[in-house]
């Protein structure tokens, strides 16, 4: 019975090139990013009426640029490792937490300097920003989860969380091009919340979709 299975499996053997897993994830990410270009334009600009205005002259744009990209990169590093049965790493999540603390620290300082005025925290769009970031990150999240289905994560939840972090970071990065907010505290709270929501969504979906 088991011998039969062995015969069947060895007849079915196809070579697996080195780093096949990484390449699979990179391909999915590239596809998701490619879809995000028109998707973000259609959803954010045409549908929700938020014009594509990268405020490249402003320092805050670049802070958001780096901050969000950092989460995407952390997720990017974590996804392949957490997609393996023997993969067990925590540093990406610890690092994300530290990044959040640093941002909150700087945000609080800037907020204090401006005498705790509410607009520094709430801006104009605090109530939509955390929802639009997951929405923007959706194509990447879907592509990643789809690509990760035939993998074997040690914990489906953690793998989903890492995918969500990558998608959330990327979604927030993309969203920054459509966002005119310039408060440091605004970014530290609402951007982080948007990324965290995407990560949580990834964890919940991963728990179901990435079981094996």
């Amino acid at each position: 019975m088991t011998d039969e299975l062995i015969n069947r499996l060895s007849a079915d053997l196809e070579p697996v090139p080195p780093r096949a897993l990484e390449r699979r994830i990179w391909t999915a990410l590239a596809l998701g990013a490619l879809v995000t270009l028109p998707y973000a334009y259609i959803v954010l600009d045409l549908w929700l009426g938020r014009p594509f205005v990268p405020l490249m002259g402003e320092r805050m744009f670049w802070v958001k640029f780096v901050y969000t990209l950092a989460f995407a990169l952390i997720g990017f590093a974590a996804v392949p490792a957490l997609s393996r049965p023997d993969g067990r790493i925590r540093w990406p999540f610890i690092l994300s937490g530290l990044g959040l603390l640093v941002a909150l620290g700087f945000g609080t300082m800037r907020w204090m300097e401006s005498d705790w005025i509410m607009p520094e925290l709430m801006g104009q769009t605090a109530m939509v920003c955390p929802w639009l970031i997951p929405l923007t990150g959706l194509p990447v999240l879907a592509a990643l989860l789809w690509a990760m289905r035939p993998l074997a994560p040690r914990s489906a939840t953690m793998a989903g969380l890492a995918a969500g972090l990558l998608a959330g970071g990327f979604g927030a990065w993309t969203y920054a091009f459509f966002c005119g907010e310039d408060g440091m505290m605004f970014m530290a709270v609402w951007y982080s919340l948007g990324i965290a929501l995407t990560a949580a969504l990834g964890a919940v979906l991963g728990r179901v979709l990435l079981r094996w």
Binding site: M1, T2, D3, L5, I6, N7, L9, S10, A11, D12, L13, E14, P15, V16, P18, A20, L21, R24, S83, R84, P85, D86, P150, L151, A152, R154, W212
Partner: protein, 183 residues
């Protein structure tokens, strides 16, 4: 016991398999089967030990379909253990939610697994063969099958006293022969 050589051997086979060497793959899977069967059997409770073969097959299937997740630069046995462990935990969870031991009222609650004692049983039969048939029967019925002396005596159409004497003599002769007494 040289775990390093096992790791090296299996890892070599795995790397060859990933490059498409079907012969190496066949050897690898056969090796894994031999290695995993006792690994699972040791971890399963007596009631589930028959699932070991299923778990071996599930693990082989996972090794096959998810071999992409093996990182060539890392130890193979660690990867394999992670998969086997995953399958084992999965099995335990499934059976914790839906236990498959039927609790029929008429089933003996403390039923023991006889197969484990099969060897002992054979020894007993060999020993009993050295006393007269009727005595052997009486001993078997009263001492092994739990019949009372009266029942056993009735089955052989003898009085209870005669049965008792017969059993006593039989056991005594057996003890003299097998209990190590130099009488």
């Amino acid at each position: 016991m040289k775990p390093d050589s096992t790791e090296q051997r299996l890892r070599g086979l795995m790397l060859a398999s990933l490059d498409g060497d079907a012969a190496a793959y066949r050897v690898l899977l056969a090796d894994l089967t031999r290695y995993l069967r006792p690994w699972f059997a040791r971890r399963l409770s007596a009631a589930h030990v028959s699932h070991a073969e299923d778990l071996v097959q599930e693990t082989l299937l996972a090794v096959h379909s998810r071999r992409m997740t093996y990182d060539r630069s890392r130890p193979f046995t660690a990867w394999l253990h992670a998969i086997a462990h995953h399958k084992f935990v999965d099995h335990v969870r499934r059976h914790a939610i839906r236990p498959t031991v039927p609790l029929d009222d008429d089933a003996p609650i403390f039923a023991s697994d006889d197969s484990a004692h099969a060897a002992d049983r054979r020894d007993v039969e060999a020993v009993l063969a050295t006393v007269p048939d009727r005595t052997a029967d009486l001993i078997r019925q009263t001492k092994l099958e739990g019949a009372s002396v009266a029942e056993a005596a009735a089955r052989h159409g003898m009085t209870e006293t005669a049965a008792k004497v017969s059993i006593h003599r039989g056991l005594k002769s057996l003890m003299g022969r097998f209990a190590g007494g130099g009488k």
